[in-house]
Subunit: 334 residues, 2 copies
Amino acid sequence: MTKVKDIGEQGLLARLQRFCPQEIIGDDAAVLVTTPGQSLVVTTDVLVDDVHFSNVTTSPEDAGWRAAAANLSDLAAMGASPLGIAVGLGLPGDVSVSWVERLYQGMTECLQRYNTPIVGGDIVRSPVTTLSITAFGQADPSRIIRRSAAQVGDAIVITGIHGASRAGLELLLHPEIGQNVKDAEKTALITAHQRPQPRLDVLPILWKILDSQSKISVAGMDSSDGLADAIVQICRASGVGAIVEAKKISLPVAFEHWLTEEQALNYTLYGGEDFELVLCLPTDAASALVEKLGRGAAIIGTIISGTKVLLHDEKAEIPDQVLTLSQGFQHFGQ
Amino acid sequence: MTKVKDIGEQGLLARLQRFCPQEIIGDDAAVLVTTPGQSLVVTTDVLVDDVHFSNVTTSPEDAGWRAAAANLSDLAAMGASPLGIAVGLGLPGDVSVSWVERLYQGMTECLQRYNTPIVGGDIVRSPVTTLSITAFGQADPSRIIRRSAAQVGDAIVITGIHGASRAGLELLLHPEIGQNVKDAEKTALITAHQRPQPRLDVLPILWKILDSQSKISVAGMDSSDGLADAIVQICRASGVGAIVEAKKISLPVAFEHWLTEEQALNYTLYGGEDFELVLCLPTDAASALVEKLGRGAAIIGTIISGTKVLLHDEKAEIPDQVLTLSQGFQHFGQ
């Protein structure tokens, strides 16, 4: 099997050029055309082998897809359309060339759905496989979605189902679990983990609804670190509180036959990596948006004054819970 | 000494926020304003501990400065003004927080000279310290400097002295050498290695000269991988040849008392990391540019038809040499 050290940096770059548009190759930097009047939006993620991805649960194609999707999701969360991504890759010499090509294949499969080119990057030798992606997009300055813009009275919208990615990961790590789950449902959960969909499709729908209303600002972020985390982050940044209705949050169908109510809610609120959007906007616009989106999209609560972020269950015997930031995403603590 | 693992990712991010403009913190991505009609220019570099930098020759401040300078140099080489950089950082848990702060201090010192903000990034745990920088700039689409635009008859301009960075590195690695070199000259060579200056200052001077002339296109790149490498790359991309006059290339003063003529020429042509610009443009404009730049700037040769890139020495007994791409930058070969 051909290894990276057999063909060197230049040889590898030559093999990977087929994943990039022809016109951007061969200068010190890539040149992109932007739309006048739009702001530039930039986001970076670094992924390290055995910390952020693993060959046990993730093929190189899936690692590539997930890395691209996470960055596109950050752009969607800002209200930005993607322009391109730059890829920085650190590789041990004994990684196979085919592993790298499959990684790029996965990135490209995701990016092509959103007409987003890989506009270059850098490949270097490293003792550990490291993937650094910087995505850039553009947004109408008056339409940028910020965490800090939530207002008392806003409805809290989620754009899809939460908990599926985490459940898919558990099924990959422990194939013996989920005996009661149908194969098709298992596959759907695993796909949710391996091939998450950044919700760039939400933006044109949202802009169309807002165009008919005057000067509405939308607050929001993506739910990459968990649904609860997103709600708490938005509330902190906006200096507001929230009340979330547990029963309004749609769960993956498979959860019913498999998980206890507590486990199901835990995956849904804290699972992470569903890459949906959590948006805060006035109720009328929120209702119109949810109706257009369908499939798990819902108004799940309301922004209130104060600083508490509460989860309310309709069952009288269950007391309100305080939502917290996701645990488990502190990668340094060992 | 406080280590990264003691304060975690969030703690470290909080400490590093003072190096970033306040308004860009706390969303999924950073937002930057661009000038209408300008193209976006993007470049990425990945630097790995013990491959691209080493505590032996490089303090964390210098590693940060050099990383920032290399990326700004790529923008200068495209004719672009910087808008910002995104920093992706992979860190072992036992790196000291002060090392990271000093790295950011060095980056910031370089960037501030060019009014360029750090617009966010990502910090993650990694078994090896890895620094990935993506720089963004903007350029007038009609003024983008490409490698492929050199034309037969163009003068080849270098914007400053070459070989100093390599000589500085040798002095750091082998303090016992260079006995005949004065201390001030040693310091100057070492500074050239540790604190290279990206030549963004050349651009306004170049545009002023070109404004008075009609439709001149400039070809070029930076000399980060060596002066010979830059000339050969431009010629390959443009489908032309070149003849370079050895005596026109200014050497660092210290070389005279220290290196043989062959060593001096070797450092100058193949040393790398001087981060000057190599530009090809019509002779009149080239002369005007060199006069304005001073300090080592020179017309060193001419673009000719064919594909040969020759170094001509005025001494009759020395035959013409064929210039080649830099060796020693193939990092995978072990």
